[in-house]
Chain length 342, copies 4
C-alpha cells in the first residue's frame, strides 16, 4: 500500500527530527519564551519583510483558526468564508463554539472573489435590518484552498482592498502554504502586506506539528498571548515549535519541500489527464482531485490509499491524491505506471 | 398612513390591557412563580392535552429560541434550519453566540421537508469524517414560516418521525402560531405530540410581549429555570406574562385573533391575485408577499406602510403585507379599493 | 399579609400604566426605533447632562449586565466585582456564559474600594505569569449595592480614576438607582462623567419592567444595537420601554418614588434600632437588613413577608425589609407598631 | 545555572525520543486513529483495570481541562475547585470561555475536602434562590495539587462519594500524576474507580507533550471525539501521542520517572528543613515550596533557577523547587551542599 490520502501521515522531515534531537536536553523557559522561538520568529519576519509583525507558534490549524477569529472579532461579527472553507466544513463548529457565525459564500473551486465579497458587504450595509444580522467582520481565505487552488497576487490584492474598504480583516489559512508558494506568484511579503493575519503551515509540510501565525496588523497583536493561553494553544514546551520552524525555514527547506511535492503532483496530473479522466478542479498544487469510474477506484484502492471526495454520479468516484514531504519519486513512478496500465 | 408592515406595531389587545390593569396592584412572588403563571400554564397544558408538559413564559422570540437551543444541545451539536429560518437570518448570530452552528437547508417557501432532513442526517452518519463536522442535534421549524406558509399534520409527522429516528430533537417556533392554527390542520395537541419543544407566540398575536414555551419532552424539562435565568430571560415581574396569557387563552381570544387576521389577509390576497400580480409564495396566513412594479410600490407607499422583501428584478419590488389583531376591516376595504383603482 | 420581601412584587406606578394605556393603539416602528424611545432617551441625556451619550432600553437587569459586559470586553478579559455582586452571586453564571471570568473581591457591606482595585490591578500587571490569568478589563459596581449601601461621589471618583488609569472600564448597575439618588451625593451627571456605562433601573422603581442603559463612552457605543439583538434584549415593541421611561422621568416621578420609599425605610430603620436589633449593615436606602431572634422572625412571618438573608448563628435570622413605589405609609405604621409590641 | 523552576524545561526522556525516531517514517492514519494510539490506550486500560474506559490523547493540560469540562456540563452548571486550582488561577479564564462558572473553595494546601464539598452542595440545594446561581455539576481536583500535596485513597473516596451523592461528576487533573503515584496510596485503578474522568500527565513527566485522558464514566464517553476536534485538541499526527505513551507506560518508565524525581525532592526537603526554613506546605512530591530570607533567595538565584511563589512578608520570599525526569542526582547534591553552606 502506497499512501497518497494526505500530506500528514508520516512524522517529520529528518532535518526537523535531528533538530529536535540536538536540542532535547537544553533547559529552556516554557510557553514560547525561549531562544528558539525568538530565532524562528526573527527568520519569519525577515522572510516576510515585516519587521513589526507579531509571530506566535501553535500546534494545529483548527486551534490557530479559532484563536485568531475569536481574538479579532467583536461578539456580533461573523467571518466570511466559502461554504467549503475548512472552518465551515471541517472543524466541528469550532468557530461557532467561540460565539461567531460563519457567513458562507458559494464556490466551485474553493476560492472566493472580491466581487462576491463586495456584494455581501454592500448587501449588509444597505440592509435596513442590518442589526438583525451578524455583521461581516473578517474574511477567511485558505491558500491553497481545500481544492488545491491558489490565489494570484492580483486576486488577493483585490480581496484585501475590498475587505479593508468595508472594514473587514483579512485572515489567510496557510495550512498548505508550502505548496501554495510553489504554485502562485504570491510571496510571503505579499501575504504580510495584504493580510491582517495568516499562518505558515508546518504540520502538512514537514514538521511533526506546528503552525506559525504571523500578525502584521498591530491592532490584532495586543494581548495575543492571553488568547493563546485561554484557548489551550500555548504549548508548555513551546521551544518544540521554535526548533522545528528554525529547521524548516533555514537553507530553503520549506520552499524545497513545497516545490518537490508540487512537481510530483504535476507529473501525476499529466498522467491523469492523459488518461482522459476529468479533474474535479484544475489544481496547481500537491492535491489532485480526479473523477474515475468506480471500477478504477476499486482497482487503485488495492495498492494506493487516497481520500474519497464524493460521488458525482452513481458510476463515478471523486478521489484526492496528495503528495507531501515524504512522497518518494519512485512511488509516483509506480503510480503513474499503474494508471497507464489501467 | 395605514400600517401593514408587521403584526407588532401596536400595543396589546384591549382584553389583555384590561387584565394587566386589573391585576396591577396585586403583590405576587417574582420570577414566574405566581398564581397567574400557574393558571396560564394549566390552561396551556389543557389546550395541548399535555398534562406533563413544562410551560415557561419568556418575553421575546429570539430569547426563547436561543435559550431552548442552548439548553437542548451538547456543545458539538448544531441545529438544522432552512437558510431563511429566523434563527439563521434574523437574530444576529444569537444561536452561534451560545456556541452552536446552524446547519442550513435550502428552501423556496420557508418550509423544510422530511426528505431533506433524512438526507442531511444520512450524509452525516455515513461521513467517515463525521467527527470533523457539527453533529445535527435538533431541527428548527417555524410555523407559520418566515414566508407565511404552514406545515400540514402529515408533513410535521414525517419530519418528527425522521428527526427522532436519527436522534434529533424537534423544536417549533410559533411566533405567529395564532395565524398558523387558523390556516393548517395542525392543532396544539399535535404540536405537543410531535415536538420536543415549541412556543405559542404572544407578541405578534395580541400581547404586549411574551411567548409561552411548551416542553413536552421530559428530558428537556430538567433545570430549565436555571437556563432561563442565565440567558436573561427570567422576567422579574413574571406575572405580567401569566396575566397576558390567561387573557389570550381564555374565551377563545387567541384563536379569534388568528382567524380574523387570516380572513382579512385572504380578502387582500384575492385582490392581489385579481390584479394579476404574482405572489412570492402562496401563503394561507396573515403575511402576504407580492411582487409589484416599482411604480405601484411607490404609489402604495404614499398611504400604506409595508415591509420590503427585495427586488426580484430592477423593475419590480417584492413587498409584504401583514394583518394583525389591530387591523380593522375598514382598513382592508380601503386598501383593496386602492389596489383595484391602480 | 403585608409584603416587604422585595421592591418588584406589584405592577407599575399608576402614571406608568396610564401612559401605556394612552399609547396602546399607536402604530409605531419596532425594536426601539420609535418616537417614545427617542423622547425618553432625550430626557435621559438631559438629566445626565450628557448630550453625546448613547441610550438603550432593555427589559431586565441580568440581560443588561450580560449584554454590556460581553459587548465591552475582549475574550481574555474579566470583570472585577465584589463576591456578593449581583453578577457573581445571583445571575446563574450569565456573565461566564458569555465567556468572561468574574474576578471577585471580598466585601462586607457590598461596596468595593479604590484601594482594593488598585491592588488587584497592580498584582496583575506585575505578575510574571499575567498571560495565564484573566486580564481585568472592567469594574462592576452596584449602586445601591446588594446590601443597600451607596457610594459617595468621592468614592466613585477614586474608583473611576483608578480603573481608567489601569485601562479598565467602569460599569455601574443601577437596578435600584432611584433609591441611591435619594441617599447619596452622587447625581446622574456624576454617573455620566465617571462611568463608561450605567443603567437607570425601572423594574424596581415603578415600571412594569425596563432598564435604561446609558453609555457615555463613545468606544462602547459602536454597533450596540447588534449586541442587543444578539443577546435577545431587543424588545419587538420597544415603545413600551420608551413610554414607561417617559412617564417615570417626567415631573420628577422617578426621584419622588426613590425619596418616598427611602423615607419609609428610614422610619422602619429607627424602629429596628430602637428595638436593639443589630443591623447587618448600615443601609441608607430602601433595603434594611436586620438580625432578629428566630422566634421574632417566626412571629413577624405571620403577617409580613420578608426576604431571608441567612443565619448568622443558630439562634438568629437575618432578614431584609424592602420598601418600594407601592409601599403605603399605613403599612409601615402597622409594621412599626407590631415591632414595638414584640 | 542549574534549573529547578519547573518540570517541563527540557525535551523528552531519551526512550520517548527514540520511539519517535523509530516510528518517524511510518505512514499512519491521522487524528488518533492509528495503531500506536490504540496500543497505548490498551496499556492504559490494563494499568487502570478499566476495560471499558475511553482513552483519548491531547497535547496539553489546559486544553484537556477545558474540553472535559465543556463536554460534561450543561450550560447552567459550574465546576467546584479550590481557589488556587489550576483552572481557576492559571488558565486565563479558559473554562469561563466555554461558558461555565468556577465555584471556588478556600484551601491552604491545595486540597479540598469532602466536608467543604458537602456544605457547598447542601447550601445550593437548600437555597430558595437556587435557580439564580450556577448549579454545581462537577468537582475538579488536581493530584498532586498546585502545592504538591496529594489525596489519600480515603480522602478521594469520601470526595467521590459526596460528589456522586449530590450528582456531581469527579474530574481529576493529573498533570503531575507520575509524582502523585509515587507519594500516595492512590493507584490508577483507584482513580478509574473513583473518578468520572482523569488524565495521566505526560508533558511534566518525560514526554515532549501529551496528556492521556481516561473516561471511565460511559455517559461522558459519547461523541467525545467531536468535542476534541471542536476545541482544537485533535492532533493531526495523533500517532505522536500514542507513540510517546507507549514508551512511557512500558517497562515501568512512567513510575520510575515519578519515583526518582520524588526521591530527589525528598533529599532536598530534608536539607531545607535542616536549615530551619519553613515550608509553605508539607509536600511529599516533586514540588517543594520553602520560605527563605530575601538575601538567601538572592544568593541562590545566582546559580539556580526557581519559581517565585510570593512574598509572605517584606523580608522573605517563597520559592518553589521542582525536580523532574531530567534532574540529575549530582545537581541535587550540589544544591544541597550550597544550601548547607549558606
Amino acid at each position: 500500500m502506497i499512501r497518497f490520502e494526505c500530506d500528514y501521515n508520516t512524522g517529520a522531515h529528518p532535518k526537523v527530527m535531528q533538530a529536535l534531537m540536538d536540542t532535547n536536553l537544553e533547559a529552556c523557559p516554557g510557553y514560547g519564551e525561549d531562544d528558539h522561538c525568538a530565532a524562528a520568529a526573527r527568520l519569519i519576519r525577515e522572510l516576510c519583510q515585516a519587521p513589526e509583525a507579531a509571530v506566535h507558534f501553535l500546534v494545529g490549524g483548527t486551534q490557530t483558526n479559532l484563536t485568531v477569529i475569536a481574538a479579532a472579532l467583536r461578539p456580533h461579527q461573523g467571518v466570511v468564508s466559502t461554504a467549503m472553507g475548512h472552518i465551515n466544513d471541517h472543524e466541528t463548529g469550532a468557530v461557532e463554539a467561540t460565539g461567531h457565525k460563519i457567513l458562507p459564500l458559494p464556490s466551485e473551486d474553493g476560492k472566493l472573489t472580491a466581487e462576491q465579497l463586495e456584494q455581501l458587504c454592500r448587501d449588509h450595509e444597505t440592509d435596513p435590518c442590518m442589526e438583525h444580522k451578524a455583521q461581516p467582520g473578517m474574511v477567511y481565505l485558505s491558500h491553497p484552498t481545500e481544492r488545491g487552488t491558489v490565489y494570484t497576487r492580483a486576486e488577493l490584492e483585490a480581496i484585501s482592498e475590498t475587505a479593508h474598504r468595508h472594514r473587514l480583516l483579512v485572515y489567510l489559512d496557510g495550512a498548505r502554504l508550502a505548496y501554495g508558494l510553489a504554485a502562485s506568484d504570491l510571496t510571503l511579503p505579499d501575504l504580510a502586506r495584504l493580510c491582517d493575519a495568516f499562518y505558515i503551515g508546518g504540520t502538512k509540510a514537514g514538521a511533526l506539528f506546528g503552525e506559525a501565525l504571523v500578525i502584521p496588523n498591530p491592532a490584532l497583536q495586543q494581548d495575543f498571548r492571553y488568547l493563546l493561553k485561554q484557548r489551550g494553544g500555548m504549548l508548555a514546551k513551546g521551544r518544540l515549535l521554535g526548533v522545528q520552524f528554525e529547521a524548516l525555514l533555514s537553507d530553503g527547506l520549506y520552499e524545497q519541500i513545497g516545490r518537490t511535492a508540487v512537481a510530483q503532483a504535476m507529473r501525476l496530473k499529466q498522467a491523469l489527464l492523459a488518461k482522459g479522466w476529468p479533474l474535479l478542479v484544475d489544481s496547481p498544487t500537491n492535491q489532485q482531485f480526479v473523477v474515475v469510474p468506480n471500477a478504477v477506484y476499486e482497482q487503485l484502492s488495492r495498492n494506493y490509499s487516497t481520500d474519497l471526495s464524493g460521488h458525482p454520479d452513481p458510476e463515478h468516484t471523486a478521489i484526492r491524491f496528495c503528495t507531501g514531504w515524504s512522497t518518494r519519486d519512485e512511488d509516483i513512478d509506480t503510480l503513474i505506471r499503474d494508471i497507464q496500465a489501467l
